[in-house]
């Protein structure tokens, strides 16, 4: 049980570091645009080389045959 005297303060320091990192991220503008960043992971760069047939119809926009 005595290890708690060491472990809990350690956890507090880690929490403090995490908050510091988060504050740095917020202040460097990383959270200014939550919309683009939420979608960025879906923007594949190399898919253009793969078969585009299927993907075009996936947008459900009408297109001519």
């Amino acid at each position: 049980m005595d290890s708690l005297y060491f472990l809990i303060p350690l956890a507090l320091i880690l929490t403090g570091l995490a908050i510091k990192c988060l504050f740095w991220a917020v202040n460097s503008g990383q959270y200014d645009d939550l919309d683009t960043e939420a979608h960025r992971i879906l923007f594949d760069e190399d898919l253009i080389k793969t078969k585009p047939e299927k993907s075009a119809s996936a947008t459900s926009k009408p297109h001519s045959k």
Binding site: V26, T36, L42, T59, K61, S64
Partner: protein
């Protein structure tokens, strides 16, 4: 893959219907897609040519339809013009802040990033899809700002300088601070919660007092920054409301936070009583979370409601300066509007916005003054006539002598009228506000009494019992009751096309007794369309052919009449096109193998072409005559068509027993016709902005609650003066920023439905308040008798909040 294009298609780029007989194909990802106009085609081709066709897969919303007219950005390369929005960095590096029109979803920022990456001379940039802003660092030696803007324009985003930098900086700061406060409270809540679990378990099973003492100190360390930093806005707001001698919800919130925190600190230091650090952190976090969402909605509403795009151009073409060398004209040169002097002469090209009030000295052109008067038809301006800043020059070049600039212009005068109207606006006191004031007073009173009584009975318990009274009655549910319901209803309305930008609108919407409507752009579409084709007996062509000839004549003109013919363009080419101001247009067209000269315009003008005996009959409304050199062919009637949703809206409102009035600045008989068509009994035409405002005030004096729907700058004072106002999505930015709500979809029937929703919202709010009060009334005596342990108080508080939120979510269906 042959492109057999049917007429019922939607444009692949902007999702607007593709007009029949148009042919603007683009091959994307191996498929041929049809576009609605050359603008969409050009943009889509530019995107594909840049190897960025993935944009069409990533996007979640249709793109905005690009403007047809080619923007000329050269003027933004001028040093004087750049002062407002370009920041010089070291060497030749500059940072420009641009506002982009046409951003619809996150994929747009992907597209812009990839387009800019390929440019030489750009060192850094950042696109923000939420604020529609682009910040770009570029080397002035390698690339001109106008080139960057051209590049953006080619993929469909019209760039303008963002000159409202200071306001943006404020919003950004507010956003960042709120995020930091919220995240700190979140971290704190979880850490304290963990420690509190151990403490509760210890309270049940028993634990050594040294551990209890230790864990309490840990909780105190974690909760301290939460209270001092995260909860600060509550203390500040509470202090502000106390200074104004009123009681807002922030007062008991602050009291509960401060009281529970300081009592817990006392308990920790002295090793007695109870600690409430977990409740304090959790309470702070949830309240901040609610406010954060509210703030995000407010910011994004502000963006959707109109990128405070300038009504006024930034630059003007100066051709003669006042003062020395009076009247001596020189080559036109672009200068910032700010530097214009009274008496200067400027050149205004066709399709440009007038930069100043002035007097026409040379040229003749049709000017669209819809901005001021609400009339969509252009007004003919000849030398000696007055023109007004912000209005649009139609078909030819004007030379204007400056008579007023900046704050002296008529546009600014209207803005001043707006400010006056907004100050006199009747304010609805929110029910929750009134209720909370009594509630807060009652809680404070009861706490005082409880403290006094316990002091007499057992002084050592007095502080703890008083505190548990404050925590138990902690107005969490009460504080959430109204905002939760309003948020749910607001998001429902936004999904259905009505954007609420001012909080009070939703509460008063249900109580509206009179709806006042504007005509042009509100009940009607706001632009001219072909209402009727009247083929003369001598003519052998079909209506479609006649329209195609007319469309070819008008092709490429920026005159508002020309846009009415645009959908009928079949690719006929007109040669030797000549525009006659305030008369019509003449051109030669090869049609069915015959080269003929055609004229379209006023009957006298068109008939001059042929030596026909035909005498035009007098017709109601606006008619144009098409004639060839062989004789007159057909009449076209142009009118501003009513929206499809106008009649159902009027019917639905009348069913709800609401008075409807039509109030228009238009002087023509069209107002009466439209009122009759829609079944509106009360109407008035030719009303100036002041008349409209007077009329609304008279209605209000009679005790009516007025909802105003409008779109033009001439409606802005009334929009500000009405109890609730709705601006159309196409409305000028000034109108949108002054209105309480914006109708995004253009579907008017949402208005009666919104009123219905508002009444539902009121009843949900009542239920929520009743529940929150009932809970407090039951919990209060128990707490006052010292019978509620802290864990029970915490559970009770959360449950009552959850019930309130769940009830509010019913509105979202």
């Amino acid at each position: 893959m042959n492109a057999a294009i049917s007429s019922s298609l939607d444009c692949y780029h902007c999702s607007l219907p593709v007009p029949a007989n148009s042919d603007y194909p683009v091959e994307i990802n191996g498929h041929t897609h049809s576009m609605c106009c050359p603008g969409c085609q050009a943009v889509a081709m530019a995107i594909v040519d840049g190897g960025l066709e993935n944009f069409y897969r990533f996007r979640t919303e249709s793109s905005a339809r690009p403007q047809q007219k080619k923007n000329d950005f050269k003027v933004y390369d001028l040093q004087d013009v750049q002062i407002d929005f370009v920041l010089p960095l070291e060497d030749n590096l500059r940072r420009a802040q641009l506002l982009l029109e046409g951003i619809t979803c996150a994929a747009c920022s992907w597209l812009i990033e990839h387009q800019l990456k390929g440019l030489q001379g750009i060192s850094a940039f950042r696109v923000n899809a939420s604020t529609h802003r682009l910040s770009v660092d570029f080397n002035a030696d390698q690339i001109l700002l106008s080139q960057i803007m051209d590049e953006l324009d080619s993929i469909g985003y019209a760039a303008q300088p963002a000159t409202d930098d200071r306001q943006q900086a404020l919003l950004k700061k507010e956003n960042r601070t709120a995020l930091m406060r919220l995240s700190l409270a979140g971290f704190g809540m979880m850490q304290v919660g963990m420690v509190a679990t151990a403490l509760y378990a210890g309270a049940i099973q028993g634990m050594e007092s040294q551990w209890q003492y230790y864990l309490r100190w840990i909780s105190l360390i974690i909760a301290t920054p939460v209270v001092l930093y995260s909860a600060r806005p509550f203390f500040v707001a509470a202090w502000r409301s106390l200074k104004h001698r009123s009681l807002s919800m922030d007062v008991p919130v602050s009291l509960a936070i401060a009281g529970a925190y300081s009592a817990s600190c006392w308990a920790t230091i002295t090793g007695s009583g109870e600690v409430y650090f977990d409740s304090v952190s959790m309470f702070t976090f949830f309240l901040l979370l609610g406010r954060f969402f509210e703030m995000r909605a407010r910011h994004s509403n502000r963006m959707a409601a109109g990128n405070v795009a300038q009504l006024m151009p930034l630059s003007a073409l100066l051709i003669a300066q006042s003062g020395h060398n009076q009247g001596e004209s020189f080559e036109p040169r672009a200068v910032p509007v700010k530097s214009l002097q009274l008496g200067d002469r400027v050149l205004v090209k066709s399709g440009e916005t007038l930069p100043c009030d002035g007097e026409v000295v040379a040229g003749r052109s049709a000017v669209v003054e819809a901005l001021l008067t609400g009339e969509p038809n252009p007004v003919d301006k000849t030398p000696g006539d007055r023109v007004v800043a912000g209005t649009l020059n139609g078909d030819s070049v004007l030379e204007v002598e400056v008579t007023a600039i900046g704050a002296q212009t008529q546009l600014s005068a209207i803005e001043r009228l707006v400010n006056d109207a907004a100050q006199d606006k009747p304010h609805q006191a929110a029910i929750a506000d009134r209720l909370s004031r009594y509630f807060v007073a009652a809680v404070l009173l009861v706490s005082g009494v409880v403290f006094g009584v316990w002091w007499q009975i057992d002084a050592s318990h007095a502080l703890w019992v008083t505190l548990s009274v404050l925590v138990v009655t902690c107005p969490c549910a009460l504080a959430l009751a109204t905002p939760a319901a309003l948020t749910a209803a607001t998001s429902w309305l936004r999904r259905h096309g009505l954007l609420i930008t001012r909080g009070h609108a939703l509460e008063s919407l249900g109580k509206v007794t009179t709806v006042v409507l504007d005509k042009t752009g509100t009940l009607t579409l706001g632009h001219l369309a072909i209402a009727k084709v009247d083929c003369l007996p001598s003519c052998e062509l079909s209506n479609e052919q006649l329209l195609a000839v007319a469309a070819a004549l008008e092709f490429g003109s920026s005159h508002p009449i020309a846009s009415a013919f645009k959908p009928f363009c079949m690719g006929l080419k007109a040669k030797e096109v000549r525009h006659f101001t305030a008369a019509g247009v003449e051109a030669s067209i090869t049609f069915n193998g015959n080269l003929l000269t055609y004229r379209l315009g006023y009957p006298e003008f068109s008939l001059q072409l042929c030596s026909s005996e035909y005498t035009p009959d007098q017709r109601q409304g606006q008619w144009l005559l098409l004639a060839s050199n062989q004789g007159p062919l057909a009449w076209f009637q142009l009118s501003d068509q009513p929206r499809e949703s106008a009649a159902p809206m009027v019917a639905a409102l009348q069913q709800q027993g609401i008075n409807i009035e039509l109030l228009s600045g238009d002087r023509s008989s069209a107002v009466a016709d439209l009122a009759q068509e829609l079944g509106i009994a009360k109407y008035r035409s030719g009303a100036s902005p002041e008349d409209k405002l007077d009329h609304i005030r008279q209605l209000q004096a009679r005790g009516e609650l007025v909802l105003m729907v409008g779109d033009g700058v001439n409606d802005v004072p009334v929009l500000s003066g009405a109890d609730i106002s709705v601006a159309m999505a196409q409305a000028t930015d000034l109108a949108k920023t002054r209105a309480d709500s914006v109708l995004l979809s253009g579907d008017l029937t949402i208005i009666p439905r919104a009123m219905h929703k508002a009444r539902d919202t009121r009843s949900i709010i009542r239920q929520n308040l009743a529940w929150a009060l009932a809970y407090n009334v039951i919990a209060l005596p128990l707490a006052a008798m010292g019978m509620i342990p802290p864990w029970a108080a915490a559970i009770g508080m959360s449950t009552s909040s959850l019930v309130v939120i769940g009830n509010a979510l019913r509105l979202n269906r």
